[in-house]
Amino acid sequence: MRLSRRIFGTAALSFPTWAYVLFFFILPVALVVWYSFGYKPDAFTTHAMDQLSFDRYAEVMQPTFLSTFLATLRISVVGTVLCLLIGVPFAYWLAVKVRPERRMLLLALVLVPFWTNFLVRTLGWQIILAPEGFLSGMLQSIGLLGGPLDILYTRTAVQIGVVYNYLPLMILPLFVAMDRAGATLREASRDLGAGRWRTLFQVTLPMAMPGIASGCLLVFIPLMGDYVTASVLGGAQGSMVGQLVASQFNTAQNWALGSAMAVVLIIFTLAAVALAAGLGLLARWAFQRYHRIDVTADDAPDSAGADVGGTAITTEGASR
């Protein structure tokens, strides 16, 4: 009876969830991992699995791959930080300063370009950044540039394209998080005597922490695997690991080596995220500890102590 309930009861109701995870996540990843132990026997076959080995991983771990991986990591970290630096003020402005009836319009302005084809948007930047494009001509005619714009097919071009392409993925979770913090909490903070900056740093930003974390993940992880932006805007200097994987699958038709590269990329990306998360937790722990000490040191007189203590509680509540 228990078994039949399990099959026909709640498990059946959750079918969409586990089917999604099974067919769109577990099976594809398992296939890629499985292929990575194979090899390419001849020009007509993408992979063969009759002799399993770790040889493809040895092929991946060459200086060629590692230096491209480091370049990719650099582009992704810088891209994520730039998206954060642009996204936080924008989301704050959108959630706090803009009149609610205009908010939808501004959100639409963020979203509509995002619905446009990724490749088309990136090609657009190729035209804008071209040495004989209009931006180059404009900058030269107003005297800001001595010669033609020399950005296209460099790492800078990839960096610009990446920030443009992934910015909405940062802004949306940030906006939701800051919006959720709500006007009432900010008002309470003000009533308790905190200034604007103090409210921002001790109420709004801590409340938005989950949004910042998910925004960074949403930008960083797809960015590590991106190859369109680098293919279109990057030249010799802007290559990313995604291009290596794509060329193994598309051009060389070596699924075994391509899969091994993809697996290594997944592992390295997870390691980078884990490292960042660890550092973040450590920083928060240090920050809170420092603050506690600060509070106890400051605890002498009556009303001021209550104020600081109240803020500390808010910070803790937000971090949960």
């Binding site: 296939l31 020009a43 491209t68 071209a130 004989e132 097919y153 030249g235 010799a236």
Partner: protein, 387 residues
């Protein structure tokens, strides 16, 4: 890069079969050895239909992107009542892997491999031997182009287009005369440093240095190829701006000053730029690649009459001229050069190199040196990115 769209194999029943095979591989991943056995279904190639003189209503062509004049294809469709479905691939490897996996069930009737890959495809049974009796226009093919080493007697293939490799340079940047691959390497390290591009092709990139040294561009000597790799990484990598397969964008955007390019692409670029006098195309000495793409009928074809009619139609002088004008490569049909000069086609000297140039070209070979070339190329890409 953007010229490599992913396509689904047509027709529908094939698609179903392929995805089922992939699904079986998926089960194999879960440890099902029975499914694994079902997956490797032997090496038999599905049989082709024989031509019976009755035109089919459909023809599936698998070719390179932007390689055929749509007007010519439409004219063929209208004349024979055949719906032509064109799919694209971005590399010979991609095309061969699909045909190899489908074993005659790919649904494609006509494919366009590069000459050097034809022997191994024929050996695998992926190509249908041609019945010359069904190709009356074959007599239009120039004797110089017919009967190549990799397909004696045109048993499997008919020339679709041929070309060679050279480079385009910006005369406002490089003012001295340029004639050889050695000039290319010198200019890349000097005036054109940071604005040089090479093709995304290991053979072509290695051939720059090998030709400049006067070595055999088809060498499979590992030591020589190692020297080539080191020299490319040391002297070329720091000066490269990009790896680009189409010259046109680079010339039009003004991003580069020295561009390794195929002759037809170079002509396309010169036609599209506003200042053609600023750019010059060079057939470099001492040698360069002579490559040829070819019409072939895929084994397992279900539309043989339409396929023969199609290849024959492409050998018609009118269609051949339109095709040549559209892609910028000679199709090998006799009399095109004379007509091109008569009709004042743009840059005929780039499309039709002189006999003296033709004589010094070398057809690339697919030999044991290929793997080393790919390694050299990958290292060049990585090192130029590290700069």
């Amino acid at each position: 890069m953007t010229r490599r769209p992913l396509r689904v194999l047509a027709p529908d029943d094939t698609v179903r079969r392929i995805s089922r095979r992939l699904f079986l591989s998926g089960l194999a991943a879960a440890g099902s050895s029975a499914a694994l056995a079902a997956c490797g279904a032997g090496d038999a190639i599905a049989p082709s239909l024989d031509p019976d003189g009755e035109m089919e209503s459909q023809l599936n062509v698998y070719t390179w992107g932007e390689y055929d004049d749509p007007d010519v294809i439409d004219a063929f469709s209208a004349r024979h009542g055949v719906r032509v479905q064109m799919d694209n691939f971005g590399s010979n490897e991609e095309m061969m892997a699909k045909l190899g996996a489908a074993r005659g069930t790919s649904g494609y009737d006509i494919i366009v491999p590069t000459g050097i890959y034809i022997p191994m495809m024929a050996e695998r049974g992926l190509l249908q031997p041609l019945d010359h009796g069904l190709l009356p226009n074959l007599r239009n093919l120039s004797p110089a182009i017919a009967d190549q080493d990799w397909d004696p007697g045109n048993e499997y293939s008919v020339c679709k287009a041929w070309g060679t490799t050279g480079y385009v340079y910006d005369r406002t940047v490089i003012t001295r005369p340029m004639t050889s691959w050695e000039d290319f390497l010198l200019a890349a390290q000097d005036e054109a440093s940071g604005s040089t591009t090479v093709l995304e092709d290991p053979w072509e990139v290695c051939a720059i240095w090998l030709a400049a040294q006067g070595e055999d561009v088809n060498t499979d000597d590992p030591e020589l190829l190692q020297l080539c790799e080191d020299a490319l990484v040391d002297s070329l990598a720091p000066h490269l701006r990009a790896f680009v397969s189409t010259a046109t964008t680079g010339v039009v955007q003004g991003s580069f000053a020295l561009i390794q390019a195929y002759n037809g692409d170079a002509r396309q670029a010169l036609m599209e730029t506003g200042e053609p006098e600023r750019w010059e195309f060079v057939f470099p000495t001492p040698t360069a690649n002579l490559w040829m793409d070819n019409w072939c009928i895929a084994a397992g074809t279900q539309h043989p009459d339409a396929a023969y009619a199609f290849i024959d139609a492409m050998l018609d002088p009118e269609a051949a001229f339109a095709q040549m004008d559209y892609v910028g490569y000679d199709t090998g049909v006799v009399g095109l050069r004379e007509r091109a000069e008569q009709e004042e086609l743009d840059f005929p000297e780039i499309v039709f190199p002189d006999q003296e140039i033709l004589d010094r070209l070398t057809a690339s070979e697919y030999n044991d040196g290929m793997e080393k070339r790919v390694i050299a190329y990958d290292r060049l890409v990585a090192e130029s990115g590290a700069a």
